[in-house]
Symmetry: D3
Subunit: 263 residues, 6 copies
């Protein structure tokens, strides 16, 4: 997927941006009011889908926690390809592909809705197309995750999306659970630039946002292969525990015996 | 894209269908009520998106008719591949691809929102995932088209979706305009089986549905290359004007001089 | 490769099946007689090919056992793709591809016909095209394997084919050797459904057929990653030793020290 | 498909050729006898398949001429890629692909065995693998075509195969019909080299073989785009009528009004 | 090929640009002197290759004009993909591909060096890697074309390269022939922006550069499908004759009877 | 990439070879003189590029050793595909691809010219196109490597090229350093045939050339998976230490503790 938007304005914001001189004189309140109505309708739709799935799982009964797929088709905060904007339906297709069967190695039956439910995608691209900026878009992602968490026993499994969505997702979990969480982050990169290429919401900056917001109690980054001076400084600044692959053998024992406390 | 659903129930309806014995005893009213809430929320979302786009085009002013993209990511009524369920975002990507520019051969500027606007996709797969059947789903497609038509000067350009959606789309146009319409149908197949492989909503039956519903005054099918006995009989039954490629040279003059009356 | 046959009759059986009303009144004996002549000719051809290869290897002399490739281009018993119907010539092409050389890691020279010979493919698709059903087709596979085994020192290495052919191949080996054999089956699935999607010869049922027929003394299934209740029950019923990957570390020592007795 | 054989002997003849010093001392008669048995068995198999198909078409009745597919998976006489050795099953798959339907533009129903039957492939690669050379192999192709023609009302439609098979196929037709035939050859090349890269049976020499054998009364080559001095001289020598694309407008009228006489 | 350079400096200029603060203090004269030596050596190499090819063609004798391939592997002035930077060797590979033969439709033998010779590529990427900017690079392209033209009877056929190279190539031809030339430009775009996305040497601005430089007497642009206001204004400003596809039928007669005068 | 040259003369040598009878009578001295001028100009160009890069690295200062990329686009000594003739620019593209960043696992910054510099490609194909044979071409490769080594602190990292270039590269290093070197050769094949398919410079013979020339003090070949009788005999003849994968566990300890002496 090409960076279509690079010629100028992102194509999803064309409506507002393109005939700029004309639209600049439009009453802002009108545009904003309309955008808010679209956002509200989007959240209502996600709430209703989560609610129906929650009701059904509860009616069947017996589930303590149900994985609930929530797709976030967002790719514009990637500094390279933007394919993640198209990813969620392809991921679902792979899950249900006829070449595999639905019993997991641990014996779980994925076709049982108490094991795996699906509340669909956030209409990310439609919201962007309406001219909504990333400040508000990221809040929509957070709100959507919370809406799913409100329906017991659903537990959201978010299908990205580029790595920028880690920020609104972790934020939602933290706010919903009532405090900072512990994160085990498996990645070759720390994604902790203050800003990457000037983008506050860059996929390479999501953990800077998470740490700044106080949404993490401990952040363990394991598997780092490519980190530069800024990555190390930001790690130190936020008290991140960074484990690089080149010293993995030394850390392995400790990492394999991590215990999840109080969660 | 594989026919995932062929193993049994379509995967979008798993929730309801999979643990059938359990769910059969669920109170139908509860399921249906939840589904209706999801459908209502979906239509509200489309209405709000169309409304905002319509408001903006009207504010800029000067547009008599604006193409409004409406995506219908639906593929399960295809008897072969179901890729159209994933098509609309790929079509948009091609439209805005950086390898082309945005001025058409006739000099129109596609970046002008008065020329081309976008109201996004109908959440078809999410609605199916909630267990909504095709009777109600097709109505959602019709209603969505009408919602776009309500926002002057938007004119919906529907991005499929397999050919089954011709039925709800034509139906919406006819109902909105107040009577049957004339259709120039360019295709190698007549898509007029009564049912194809038992499917009332098959992509090969959409024009049977259109004719039965009385949504077309004249139906001209041009370019037919593969038609069998049933196709011819159905054509005769509904008074369809079928022009096959093997006799195209004979019909060419007349077809090139078709005049659009009263529209 | 698409499941071409899903529209109705498998395309290889079209001749018999398509104009069903007409052909049903055809004298069965005539059709069956013709089919039997085709089957006999097919087996004769395989016998002659194996015989010539056997004669040559014996003439050169010095070989205790010679791998003899036998292709089985059969894919219709797969519940997903049917590509194995086209596989054997592609496998041969890979074996002799110019990017590799013909000396194995153990120093064997694959170009020496005493190491590797080839008796070609069973004409599976042609036999199916004649309207022969799977009962007789599977017997043709068994007979072909036996014909190769009759030519000392040839040892058939069967190139599939979907997994349904394990049944006729194991059956042939057992019948030829004069009793049930021990099988080390490396697979992520047990392929032991009584029937899969109603298919007695399904690629997912081949080991049920093998066990029912009494062709295995011991069946060790190693590497199982996806097994459901029926798989476990069938395993118990037939006395199969199933080793799953999730407990592999426990079983590893024993499995690495399996000894081949009396063979 | 790579030219696997270029390292030395074609891989299908390895058995005979590889350990040359050893095999050279083998009694030729033994090898030849075995090869002849394989060839006889191959022809018997084709005869039986054609016979059964012919019987069924005659039993249903009413067919004046039935297209009978005969595959010739042969590619080694190509001077470039050898993929045609794998082509016939892929061609059949395309014919029956679910993306198309089985009614032709002229209204023929391909599923009717009186319209289209299939007698399968000649086991070309197996015969080559036995060490049979092209002299005898080409005769097998000719004999196979004749065997199909003997079963009224079957008319062979040969699926190649590189262009070298035009020679044995035309030869068979001519011999069966009792005299030289008229050929309308549509191609960008004349394929009339005496030998191409030393190969008497080259795909670029097939029409030289046809003309030398006296199997054509008239040969019209239409569409020639690439012809050199040898091509023109050979054309003149054999009295071929060569129509090049660069002068097509001049010849078009005549070519469009060719009449088929006495056939 | 991705727009690698978009992260910051084009990678071919990294050496100079990357540690900017350090290099800025380097004595400019030293860098420039070294770059000039590289440019001189590049031109010497092209001169020697053209000279040898010219000598040989003249020695064989009898050629009035010989096509001489000159590759320009340059892609960074494209606003989309930059693949043309890798194109010339792929073009040559296609010319000599074994799937075609070397006689053209008009009977020319491409293997005759008097018909087609090759002087290789300009080392564009190496020159850029040394930090040479486009002002000087474009002069290298012009000089190279002239060097080939100096070797009678060679006529350069330039293999691009994105469309930005039209400018230095036309310039070279004009300067070498001693005056402005007539150009028949077949393209869907006029490539006549003053600057495209700020790039003076953009592939979309090459004909603006040609017209400004006075290198064209007449410029006929035929086949235009996508032109905007700036394209039309620039055309008018420079007296370009623009023929759009939408009115092609009107202009066809005249365009097919263009006569080449005085050339 | 196809073996284009197999039809006769390699296409890069067409000029000399094609009209053989004519050119044979050309004064050899003329051709050779021209070729020598082209070779000299090629080496001058490489010298100038290396010199400029060396000057800059020395000016910035502080580097003890700088990796200097040198591309050798040569593929005709491969016995299979010849794609390596096109490889170097693709390798560079991968190095700078936007999907990765430029900090290595060990913390090196690849964008720093003191870490990684680039002196471009040897114009291998242009030299071959001039009719220069492999004897002289291989010397050009050796000379080019030496030219890079002359610019302290540049250390050439040669980007191939098929494996035949190991010979001229090792030769250059040995000659430059003043004596035979120790080589740790990681490969599945020993590449030590006396000649492979008659080619003295074959990619499968490069280590035979290295050993014959006395350019290696010790040659350790580690990872051998496919070796035949000739490979073993050549190994013995030259005193090569060959470590095969099938006995790797035995040799592992020793190989992991190899110490680099006196280098």
């Amino acid at each position: 997927m090409w960076k279509i938007g690079q010629r100028g304005v992102p194509y999803f914001q064309r409506l507002i941006a393109a005939p700029f001189t004309t639209l600049r004189s439009l009453p802002t309140s009108l545009v904003e009011t309309g955008q808010n109505r679209v956002i509200d309708a989007s959240l209502t739709l996600i709430r209703e889908r989560a609610k129906l799935k929650g009701e059904l799982v509860r009616l069947i009964g017996g589930a303590k926690a149900t994985t609930a797929l929530l797709g976030v088709p967002l790719g514009h905060n990637s500094s390279f390809l933007e394919g993640p904007a198209l990813a969620p339906p392809h991921v679902r297709e792979a899950i249900w592909c006829g070449s595999t069967n639905s019993t997991t190695e641990e014996g779980k039956e994925l076709k049982d809705p108490r094991v795996l439910s699906d509340v669909g995608d956030i209409p990310v691209q439609e919201i962007r197309e309406m001219g909504v900026d990333d400040d508000r878009l990221m809040k929509v992602v957070s709100e959507s995750v919370k809406l799913v968490m409100e329906e017991e026993p659903l537990r959201p499994l978010v299908i990205g999306g580029d790595h920028s969505i880690s920020y609104p997702v972790v934020r939602a979990v933290s706010e919903k659970l009532g405090g900072p969480v512990d994160i085990l982050h498996l990645d070759a990169h720390p994604d902790i630039y203050d800003r990457f290429e000037g983008n506050y919401y860059s996929h390479a900056s999501s953990f800077a946002r998470i740490m700044e917001g106080g949404y993490a109690r401990r952040l363990l980054q394991v598997g780092i292969r490519s980190i530069n001076k800024e990555g190390r400084e930001q790690g130190k600044r936020f008290g991140v525990e960074q484990y690089e692959m080149r010293t993995f053998s030394k850390d392995r024992q400790m990492l394999e015996n991590l215990v999840c406390i109080n969660f």
